[in-house]
């Protein structure tokens, strides 16, 4: 169950990120969605941390969030798909997940 919780928490995080973008486009209902998605996402994280180590939980969560936001940006909002951009996002991703796993 903790792994399912992390995956759902990651999906909620990505939904939250979509709402950051929607809020940027002045869709004010996004404020409520932001609170619901990030709130429930963090609640699921703390549940997962009861049985798994904090580094693993936080690392996987950050990974899903970063990859998810990059993909959503490219698919829904037509953000640049050039290989250099994807490379640097991947470097940030690998370093952040690595840091969370070892701390």
């Amino acid at each position: 169950m903790p792994w399912l919780a992390i995956i759902i928490a990651g999906c909620l995080e990505v939904t939250g990120v979509i709402n950051i973008k929607r809020l940027a486009m002045k869709k004010w209902d996004a404020i409520i969605w932001l609170i619901i998605t990030f709130g429930s996402s963090l609640a699921l994280l703390s549940y997962a941390m009861q049985s798994l180590s904090m580094g693993v939980v936080y690392g996987v969560w950050t990974g899903i969030g970063t990859v998810g936001s990059a993909l959503i940006g490219m698919w829904i909002y037509a953000e640049p798909k050039d290989w250099k951009r994807i490379l640097f996002i991947s470097i940030i991703l690998a370093s952040a997940v690595g840091l969370k796993l070892i701390t």
Partner: protein, 113 residues
């Protein structure tokens, strides 16, 4: 453009504040500051997302937040210092700087044309 990148960095600074707060806050004042920092983060991010790609905003925000949290834990809360951490902080910063340079390119070429 640079202004919005600075704001993403600022959002990450506030993130470090509330992540540390969630972990270490004890008094009502500390909890209030933690909640305040969370709110400020989520006010700043949509402003930056208006002008920068959301994929860029979130990776830089999450990445720098992680670096900041690791540094704060090492400097203020006596987490052990190790070489791998420093190395990963280095590669992460290379990623952020690289992403910034790549993001500026279309604008520069437009200026030239």
């Amino acid at each position: 453009m640079n202004r919005y990148w600075s704001l993403v960095v600022l959002a990450a600074v506030f993130e470090v504040g509330w992540v540390s707060g969630l972990k270490h806050a004890e008094s009502i004042l500390e909890w209030s500051l933690t909640i305040g920092a969370t709110v400020i983060t989520f006010i700043i991010l949509p402003i930056t997302a208006k002008y920068l790609p959301i994929g860029t905003v979130y990776s830089v925000f999450a990445g720098l937040g992680t670096v900041g949290t690791v540094l704060v834990e090492m400097i203020f809360f006596e987490e052990p210092f190790n070489l791998l951490k420093v190395l990963l902080i280095g590669t992460l910063l290379i990623g952020v700087v690289g992403l910034k340079i790549v993001s500026n390119q279309p604008e520069t070429s437009k200026d030239v044309a």
